[in-house]
């Protein structure tokens, strides 16, 4: 299926969730995150779409003025089509429904994105940091991240503006 067909399939089931964005590539689709769990369930279980493979979840921070996003790459092994779903979050309180029960790999991918960007996946059964220590402060991959100076008394190396790494 092409993107246009996938788009119309989602649109007929959930009218008004697709956000028009001129800047997106021809494999991307931006959605409103309010009904995300229902849309994801539909995408997985509908026999025409049947996206059985969740390839990747990427967190994305466009900078101070822009949005915090979660980007999902889906692929259907049966129909050999793929799509990228983009959902934007509120910067102050980034929240979106978890899809960890639909695609089990979503569990670790969402934990990773939570760890790096602080996006909260509601309904996730075990949302804790995965790569950083549990008591690490801040969200490392956000553009405005300031690292802590000490971690349990150990100096955390910093980036210097001119000379690179200390």
């Amino acid at each position: 299926m092409t993107l246009v067909e996938i788009k119309s399939a989602i649109n007929s089931q959930f009218p008004g969730v697709i956000i028009d964005n001129e800047e997106l590539g021809d494999h991307q689709l931006e959605l409103n995150g309010d009904k995300w769990l229902d849309i994801a369930t539909f995408m997985k279980e509908d026999p025409i779409l049947s996206f059985d493979q969740l390839e990747c979840i990427t967190g994305y921070d466009g900078g101070e003025e822009a949005a915090l996003q979660t980007r999902y790459n889906f692929h259907s092994m049966e129909h050999r089509h793929k799509i990228e779903i983009i959902i934007s979050h509120d910067r102050e309180e980034p929240r979106v429904a978890s899809i960890e029960k639909l695609w089990r790999i979503g569990d670790w991918f969402e934990r990773e994105t939570y760890d790096m960007f602080g996006i909260i996946y509601e309904g996730h059964r075990d949302l804790r940091r995965i790569l950083c220590p549990d008591d690490w402060e801040g969200w490392p991959l956000r553009k405005n991240y300031k690292g802590q100076e000490l971690y349990h008394g150990i100096v955390v190396p910093k980036i210097k503006e001119e000379d690179g790494w200390e």
Binding site: Q53, E55, C132
Partner: protein, 372 residues
Amino acid sequence: MGVVKGDQMILNIGPQHPSTHGVLRLEVMTDGEIVSQIRPHIGYLHRCFEKHSENVTYEQVIPFTDRCDYLASMNSNFGYVVAMEELMEIKVPERVDYIRVVMGELNRIASHLLALGVYGLDIGAFTPFLYMLRDRERILDMFEYTCGARLLYNYMWVGGVSHDLPKDFEKICIDFLDYFEPQIKEYNNLLSFNKIFVERTADVGVIPADVAVSYGVTGPNLRASGVKWDVRKDEPYSVYDKFEFDVPTGTGKFGTLGDCYDRYWVRMLEIKESIRILRQALGSIPSGDVHQSIPKKIRPPKGSIYRRTESPRGDLGYYIVSDGTPVPFRVKMRSPAFTALSCLDEVSRGWMISDVIAILGSLDIVLGEIDR
């Protein structure tokens, strides 16, 4: 199994433990010898690959990718440059594509040899490990001859490769293949058809196909569950569509479809397929300049791309976002070992602790790639 319920006990395996293949800690909930739950703790080797990438130029990301999957650095490079070239719409000379395929397949053989050898070591067979490492050494020698490095190559660049093939490389490589191909029979006699090894691995740790797909398990682990999916075949990149090769899948050779033995055996069959690809590629490397399409300055247009390639461990994906400057805005690596490890909990439930070691080894994880 597990009818009698006794007291639960938590057992820590790792972070320093030979069978965890790196620094991985498994928090195993056990009832006697029977495992009821596993919580893997990762991140001990986290080196902030993605954060580093946002502070260096596109060229400088390549050495970092080497250090992620240090057993198959060529394939890590390969995935990154393929994604970058698609983003920048660079067409590389055919010679470069052929050289990349040769290097990628050689590295796949080297990685599988280590995976199989170490798996034998986990189970308790020491000798096959030495045999396989001996032959892997010859592949590393060829890499050293080509680019000077044995493990971390930084060989594939965006638009080309760092060095052209050295003198007589094709002949050296063919000689190696002629020597290596009969060795597989020896491995089989030593390990594959060894009764003790088969007893330890067959019927153990079965991953059904739907569970594997749901957990994002890819590569040999997915194919062992009977799903015929190979990025080289199904979404061909580089010049893989020009070669004839089969995609081996699990058959339940000595036990059930998708058990540990199948995962082992699929890797052994893949080595044979890699040899087939290598023989075809080496015989037809076109001439040309390997540096001609390397851009002076890498400045991709605004946009993003997600591209996956087949590394020895599975689908290696790169998500790259460019804002039009020479520094990447965001680089994300979708690591195949990360997804493979995530299914360990579900697969190991109900098995004994010694079987957990067998299951973990059969997944062929590399912690450098999981933690990035």
